[in-house]
Assembly symmetry: C2
Homo-oligomer: 247 residues x 2
DNA sequence: TAGCAAACTGACCGTACGGTTAGTAAACCG
DNA sequence: CGGTTTACTAACCGTACGGTCAGTTTGCTA
């Protein structure tokens, strides 16, 4: 049988995570209430506790996923790139594109302060490791001549800033496709650090080639009323406040 | 007489704003409680209400100040720059440097969602105007040949992302002086968009020239116990929770 | 020195939100 | 079929935080 029990559970869990990530990215962790997340999934707050033990673990899961993607991209970049600059740009492009379409536009890494000390320490360790690896790529690039001499620390701060800012303005429903964005950003980054910058950049991101056709692709598992579905938007049950006011 | 009553009030107000801005920038609006702000100023929460009507107005004031600085920098950049690229870079440098030392490292512009609808609409209007102006500078630069042909919208997103990210990692007490940071950032931005990029960038931001000597410069008005002083750090009165618990 | 306003405190209120729990309804299993 | 598990809801609790207010301290003015 196709959708086993655990499989369905996993998919719904993913869906919760995606919704949470999108909201955390856009409005911030503290500004996002569980009720909001639940409502936009068509369920009530309590339902979320079937998938995550508490709000904080949702955030932790976002970070965990982001860091997994980060290191996977790093490895791929290291393998496929032929010099420091290529390795750097490939890593960044992989990181960005994967997070965009897996977590509905997610680069997180803001909001780390909201994590609990243990989770936070772990994240900080991993993130530092990732940043150090990126800086190392810059250094490699300087040494092999592919990257202009510069302060690797600052260069990486600038690049990560631009990257982490993406969720604030990018909407998958907007005029630019994720692949176009990834490509265009890579080119700007490349130009900023390359020892021999290209003469030109795309004049309009929307003119860049796209791989996938327009329009939403994902659509599965129409669930019963009041359950988490993947067809994102539905009436949603009203969530009443406690009956008697106070007086 | 030197410090008139209103003058002192104004200075303290500034001090509150600076403290709030620093915390909003670093941890976010919702993660910052008024008690925290008050405590680190050495007063209690209620004291803040002598300077601002509510928490939201603190945020609004941050944005207002940031936008004033933005447009002032824009005007200066327009006057002093000789081509599109120079005007752009001067604007950005002015914006960054002024915000860093006036608001203790502040570029805000995240957290706009926390504003009340009226304030928010105003901010969005102003910010859009600022962004459009920056894009116009890029376009000018492309036309006069000082800027590489590119998508002005994306270029500005990238630059503002890097800029808005600064408060997340920059500490005035760290190894880099604000002027060094401003200069180094300007050079990277310039390189990313210039039609004829410089061959090199500074290898170490800390080696760049500084104008001011190291160490904190500001120190005024030691206030009486329990009042807002400018000498930032002091014991701070404990802020007890309500006496009887609940039972 | 009295009078007064501004600055601040400490105790308090209302409420939004994270989290819990008892109960229901569908789905699964023998 | 009956029994059990899973998914979910409605109603509720505790509390942290924004905001208020009566009262005290400080310092200016006359």
């Amino acid at each position: 049988m196709f959708p086993t029990k655990e499989h369905v559970h996993g998919i719904k869990r993913q869906e919760v995570l995606r919704e949470a990530a999108a909201s955390f990215n856009f409005k911030g962790y503290h500004a996002t209430s569980l009720t909001e997340i639940a409502t936009s999934l068509g369920v009530t707050k309590a339902a979320l506790y079937h998938y995550f033990p508490n709000k904080n673990s949702l955030l932790a899961a976002c970070f965990e996923h982001a860091m997994e993607v980060a290191f996977a991209s790093l490895e791929r970049g290291r393998k496929q790139g032929k010099d420091g600059r290529e390795r750097l740009v490939l890593t960044l492009a992989g990181y960005l594109s994967q997070l965009i379409d897996e977590l509905n536009c997610c680069v997180v890494l803001m909001e780390e302060h909201a994590l609990e000390p243990g989770d936070r320490a772990k994240l900080v360790r991993q993130r530092d490791r990732f940043e150090r690896a990126l800086r190392a790529l810059v250094k490699e690039g300087i040494e092999d001549g592919s990257v202009v001499p510069c302060d690797p620390k600052l260069a990486i701060f600038v690049i990560l800033g631009a990257l982490n800012w993406v969720p604030k303005w990018f909407k998958p429903s907007g005029p630019w496709r994720p692949e176009q964005l990834t490509l265009a950003l890579s080119q700007i980054f490349e130009r900023a650090v390359s020892s021999a910058p290209a003469a030109a950049l795309p004049r309009d991101v929307g003119d860049l080639p796209t791989h996938r056709p327009q329009g939403p692709a994902r659509q599965l598992l129409p669930a019963r009323r009041g359950a988490i579905s993947v067809a994102s938007s539905r009436p949603a049950p009203k969530q009443k406040r406690r009956a008697g006011g106070k007086s």
